[in-house]
Symmetry: C2
Subunit: 270 residues, 2 copies
Amino acid sequence: MPEQSGRHAFDEAVHLTPAGEGRYKGHTSRKYWNFVGPFGGITAATALNGLMQREDRQGHPLSLTVNFMAPIKEGAFTVETRLVRSNRSTQHWSAQIVQEGESEPVLGAIAVFAARRETWALREAVPPQAPPPEECKPFQARLQIVWPQMYEMRYARGRFGVENPDSVTHAWLRDVPSRPLDFASLTAICDAFFPRIFLRRPHMAPIATVSLNIYFHVDAAELAAEGSGPVLCVAKAQVFNKGYYDQEGQVWGRDGKLLATTQQIAWYKE
Amino acid sequence: MPEQSGRHAFDEAVHLTPAGEGRYKGHTSRKYWNFVGPFGGITAATALNGLMQREDRQGHPLSLTVNFMAPIKEGAFTVETRLVRSNRSTQHWSAQIVQEGESEPVLGAIAVFAARRETWALREAVPPQAPPPEECKPFQARLQIVWPQMYEMRYARGRFGVENPDSVTHAWLRDVPSRPLDFASLTAICDAFFPRIFLRRPHMAPIATVSLNIYFHVDAAELAAEGSGPVLCVAKAQVFNKGYYDQEGQVWGRDGKLLATTQQIAWYKE
């Protein structure tokens, strides 16, 4: 799909065209390509974008769970959205991505959108004491995959591809070129941390995220106030067992604002 | 629904009768009743139980996300299950609970089941140094709700209903009477921790879990080896903002085995 001049590659990648009855047509992006399909984060962002497009959508994304069922092939796909239940201040949605030639969906998701309002508030989690981004060296991907080039990643803690004492990383992330944060880009960022296994067992081996969960802790105005970041991402694994490991993460904005928390479970080979 | 002699109240509560085409009929339990509906954990466990009943189910639960869309009324309900995609070693499922008189589902869930096999393994998370259960005082629920009586809860850290310096709790949990752990009871336990807000803002106010996520880190054999527990539950909140707060938790078995990790996002009033 040709890139329209002036549009960020991220917006190209998640771009959807209405196709009636809650359906939206999209196309994979070569710029966000992973090994055998698009980078999972861009796919999750595209699913969320389908929900954001709905004219009957109310409120802001509160939670999103994406199950990656099969690799998406290069080319066109359809995001199918469905409003499952609408309450006074929440909407429950489901979405799936289907692709021609596949009898079953390649992705399934459920999401909650909610009206957010001022309430008593408390931030208990604490952002790590990381050096400012300009003091952290940009990660130069010596990888055969291209999507990491779509992010400026400055790691303050944790090294990729060596045996670290733990899997904890602190990294400043922003889109390349920089782009104002929104819920779609925040979703993609939640899947843009190094796979935890490569911080503990450094040899390259197949892995795949199976399920990704995100809780959004800010509304659209708070997120817009972050500008184009960078955001400070914290991630760690808790356990690797019998072919699957988890990852939990936080995405911090300026002034210690917790924008999102995220978890995922990923498959690994042997 | 009359309780059959000899069957644990938990098994009564999650009991389902096949009703054709992936549908299963169940009935709410008064013993696991919360304020305006069943305890969310028992409902999540019932949804998972529907998937466990499927004859074409393969492997063990790996991830489960449950969105609570509306309170379930006392009485009968139907769990509707659907195999969305089946791969070589994973199955992707969805489930919903519907109830007569409601045009929309009251609960929606997606789950992944997976074949687990021996692999390289590493446990990075560390269980807390908690005193043994017999040294921790059982929590006596002075609540108007009954479901907490279905658990023996021995808190080693964190006090309910007072202003704690943080929301971290360590608690030994087991079914009452004790019952061998399985994926359904582990699911319910993942929602049985004190609502975090009552550890920081101790006045009673309406709250409701909106979405619950669980990753299972053991297979059925490993879980069975835990007997009837107790399990050590760790939970904390990260942020309370604009009407919603999160909770993340770990469920530890004996010998520091991490059985499950769980997250939820809950609504709170003002």
